[in-house]
């Protein structure tokens, strides 16, 4: 049922605009990560934010280890939310692994999406011959082990708590500390699906114009990966940011907002 999928993925909607802007969080996070940039778009767009299966406030029972071993399942979930809300002419904003989830969704229903904004994307994380993804397989196994160790004693991450942001009183809302409260089994599965994925072959099929926001010194998605994407993704625009790290929408929200607004104001590349 339509209501079910909205509950299952903890879908929240805000904004007074008509054109939908659908935000997809990346690996390790939930929709709260958009809180520093989403207010900038509320007047002009209808914002839709979701939590992927098993993440954040979503229904953890929806997570199917076998099905969600592939990013296609996440794309299906996204399309199911779009259908339930009858979203058309959607601007799809995907961070990290959700950039590829966005690509997969757009390839299946290109007529539903008008543009994509891909923040810190990578089509493949593990090096493959001449292709530099940035990681060897054992690096990812090391990440999984770090995640395992932190879930052993990470009880406080899973316990809900209410926190405030005293240095940002303008936000005026309480933050439920469900961030990173992913079930450890789900987290491990999502990590494997993310870091062992290879979506290079999906890039050439894209028919939706896109903006690639590439951070400086992003260990997860290095510059070479962004440049590869820009070469292979038809209709893409690449912007290299001053922001460092992997989450510019959190560490440098003003720069991120400016680049997004600039892109949306200009006609799309075809």
């Amino acid at each position: 049922m339509a209501t079910d999928v909205l509950v299952r993925h903890a879908v929240t909607q805000k904004g007074t605009g008509t054109q939908p802007m659908l935000f997809l969080h990346g690996f390790g996070c939930d929709q709260n990560m958009w809180r520093f940039i989403s207010p900038a778009f509320m007047d002009d767009y209808r914002l839709v934010l979701i939590d992927h299966a098993g993440c954040g406030a979503s229904d953890v029972s929806v997570y199917d280890a076998e099905r969600h071993a592939s990013l296609d399942a996440y794309a299906s979930d996204v399309l199911e939310v779009c259908a339930a809300l009858d979203l058309q002419d959607v601007i799809l904003v995907g961070h990290s692994v959700s950039a590829m989830i966005a690509v997969l969704a757009a390839n299946r229903e290109p007529e539903r999406f008008s543009r994509m904004i891909l923040i810190g994307p990578s089509a493949r994380y593990i090096d493959d011959g001449a292709y530099v993804g940035g990681f060897a397989r054992e690096d990812i196994e090391g990440l999984l082990e770090t995640m395992d160790r932190n879930f052993i004693g990470w009880a406080n991450f899973l316990a809900p708590a209410i926190m405030k942001n005293p240095d940002r009183p303008e936000l005026g809302e309480e933050l439920t500390a469900s961030f990173c409260s992913t079930d450890p089994v789900v987290a491990r599965g999502f990590a494997r699906a993310t870091f062992f994925a290879d979506n290079r072959a999906d890039l050439a099929l894209v028919r939706v114009p896109s903006l690639i926001l590439q951070c400086s010194d992003d260990i997860i998605a290095p510059l070479s990966v962004g440049e590869y994407l820009h070469r292979e993704l038809p209709g893409s625009t690449l912007r290299v940011m001053n922001a460092t790290g992997h989450c510019p929408h959190m560490s440098a929200p003003e720069e991120t907002i400016a680049l997004m607004q600039d892109y949306l104001a200009s006609p799309p590349r075809t």
Partner: protein, 394 residues
């Protein structure tokens, strides 16, 4: 405490103190941090915090920890693998919290090296992964067994339905044969001579044999499929044997056999739990077998015992035993277990020497077990056999 004293205290603390700015650059690291990571005093200030982390820890920092600190402003009990200047790794447990100092947003880390805890967690992780794999294997096996069980149940149901249908299909014409044979025997279609009468009697005997065979097959099938109901109550074995003896007396006398009931054990000590009607069926079967396999002039004795329970099948402190012993042809030791298999008749010759489908003992044992008891056999070739029914005491 003066600033100098504070610095000295921090430097001598048995844990690392590190402060970084909003650009994730190290503003301060105490002496313990420098020593742990193998840097000269002051060398850490100005470096990027991520340069202290192993590659997996950097990924974790960028995807989990840094976003969490930006949103939640603190993190507790985080395990990270640091990278020393030598390249060697050091596992630490870390707490972090953010604060504002003037215009700057800072993050303070406290880190404790956890060598023994890391080894302990290694073991825990190994055990958990092993348990996860074992659980996955068990789940697969359970699924396979469930499928096999469903298939077996389906096959058993199909078999029962087939047998029920076939028994009806076979009984109907056999009853017709029996009926018309009787009509002919009675001379209703005309006079019948002695030779014809002999033939008709043979036809009737064989018809009856076939009907009995069909009933036994159907019986066994019902018992095996668990569709037989047991009316369990108190039974008195001596009285039971006495009740079936008259049914068999004609055959016993005709063959010149002697049947004795041993009443030396007091009747009041022998109350057992079972289904009376089915026990009668078992006793008739055992006594019929004894008669069948004992030559003329031989002996059949029924005796009773009360013993402490030794069988795993019987849930009771004591067990009542009913022994049916004959002085018949006996059973070879190598074939003793097979006597309870369906359709088996122990014979030393190539032709079947005795009538019967070979289902009686299979049915009797199933019935005994269905009542919470058992049926066993001992034998000496050429001297005779003893079949023992065991039932729980009442």
């Amino acid at each position: 405490m003066s600033r100098g004293n504070v610095d000295r205290t921090l430097d001598h603390a048995p844990c690392c103190f590190v402060t970084i700015d909003d650009e994730r650059r190290i503003l301060y690291a105490n002496a313990t941090a420098h020593t742990l990571l193998g840097y000269d005093a002051g060398a850490l200030e100005g470096k990027s915090f991520e340069s202290l982390l192993s590659l997996p820890a950097r990924i974790f920092f960028q995807t989990h920890l840094d976003p969490m600190l930006r949103l939640h402003r603190r993190a507790d009990e985080i395990f990270l693998l640091l990278a020393k200047q030598s390249g060697e790794k050091a596992g630490v447990l870390m707490n972090a919290s953010t604060r504002v100092e003037g215009e700057a947003s800072l993050i303070d880390f406290v880190m404790l090296e956890v060598k023994e805890r890391q080894k302990y967690e290694d073991e825990l992780l190994r055990a958990r992964h092993f348990a996860d794999e074992a659980r996955a294997t068990l789940e697969q096996q359970y699924l396979r067994l469930s499928e096999q069980s469903a298939a077996l149940e389906h096959a058993s149901r199909a078999k029962s339905e087939f047998l029920a249908t076939m028994s009806h299909e076979l009984r109907t014409p056999l009853n017709a044969i029996g009926g018309y044979t009787e009509i002919l025997k009675l001379g209703i279609r005309g006079p019948v001579n002695d030779a014809q009468l002999d033939d008709l009697v043979r036809i009737q005997k064989n018809t009856l044999h076939l009907l009995n065979l069909i009933n036994e097959v159907l019986n066994l099938s019902r018992i095996e499929s668990g569709t037989v109901d047991y009316d369990i109550g108190v039974i008195r074995p001596i009285k039971l044997v006495e009740s079936v003896e008259p049914l068999l007396r004609p055959q016993i006398d005709a063959k010149g056999l002697r049947l004795a009931i041993d009443r030396s054990v007091p009747d009041e000590t022998l109350f057992a739990r079972g289904d009376e009607e089915k026990m009668q069926q078992v006793l008739v079967n055992l006594l019929s077998n004894a008669m069948k396999f004992t030559n003329a002039g031989g002996n059949i004795t029924v005796s009773f015992e009360r013993v402490p329970t030794s069988s795993e099948c019987i849930r009771s402190t004591d067990t009542i035993l009913i022994h049916v012993r004959d002085s018949g042809i006996g059973i070879p030791a190598s074939r003793l277990n097979a006597v309870f298999d369906p359709f088996v008749q122990i014979s030393s010759g190539l032709t079947r020497t005795h009538e019967g489908a070979g289902l009686g003992l299979a049915i009797s044992r199933d019935l005994a077990r269905g009542m919470g008891g058992d049926l066993t056999a001992t034998s000496t070739l050429g001297e005779g056999s003893t079949f023992t029914v065991a039932l729980p005491t009442a």
